[in-house]
Amino acid sequence: MTRRVPILRQNGILIASIQEELSDGDILALQSRILSDVVSINAKAVVIDVSALDVLDSFGTRTLTEIASSVELRGARTIIVGIQPEVAMAMVLLGLDFRNIATAFDLDHAFDLLRAA
């Protein structure tokens, strides 16, 4: 089963709102859609809400990091929103992190960060 993540557009910001657990293929599909949408609307920022995710393993972390790096090279920013506390703990123990990527605890916080920049 393929799960398509809704991507909203608001004032030049792409908001990818992950609703349920994603397979590796779903995450790769999200990656290519975000990158093409960033170009098509000249997005200045990408906000990815991961609060519905129960697991962020090495593959998920690496792919989100790749998305953020590509978006940044394009001149836009990426903010990862809503990492669950248990997920954050598991990531740290596994040796994973989102170094150099902005994170926020909810969407409001993400927009505050974007306004402040």
């Binding site: 590796d24 293929g25 129960d54 962020l56 972390t61 690496r62 506390p85 596994l94």
Partner: protein, 134 residues
């Protein structure tokens, strides 16, 4: 007592099902939400190794209980090429599959017992156990 689950792992969808099954069994056994996330993450890494390196294999997830403690045991078995250098595969940052190289060493860090057996040409079997409250 909860029953064990045995699943075939051969696609990325199977990885999702395996970690959801593992989380459910961990919850039934009585693990905290934090430990459920650790177990689900470990299962995800082991299941992905099967898909990436061996194409297919099996995973058994079962509750374990002794007189003094309860936990979950996961056995991931494949019949792929095997691992030539297990010591290297357990080192942070080592990967032959283009990944971060944190799957196996990371998994070993977050469980209480970790065993890996590999015969080159015959496959890999990884067994992990996590106990409650350790």
């Amino acid at each position: 007592m909860n029953s064990a689950s045995i699943q075939t792992i051969r696609s990325d969808g199977d990885i999702v099902v395996a970690r959801q099954t593992g989380r459910k069994i961990a919850e039934d056994v009585g693990f905290s939400r934090a430990d459920q996330a650790l177990i689900a993450t470990a299962i995800s890494e082991l299941a992905r190794n099967i898909v990436v390196y061996a194409n297919s294999g099996e995973m058994e997830i079962s509750p374990v209980e002794t007189v003094s403690r309860s936990g979950v045991r996961v056995t991931a078995q494949d019949y792929g090429p095997g691992i030539l250098d297990i010591k290297a595969a357990l080192a942070d940052g080592f990967s032959t599959g283009g990944s971060l190289g944190l799957g196996l060493p990371g998994t070993r860090r977050i469980v209480d017992e970790f065993d890996i057996q590999s015969v080159p040409g015959e496959g890999v079997t990884v067994t992990i156990v996590k106990w409650i409250g350790r």
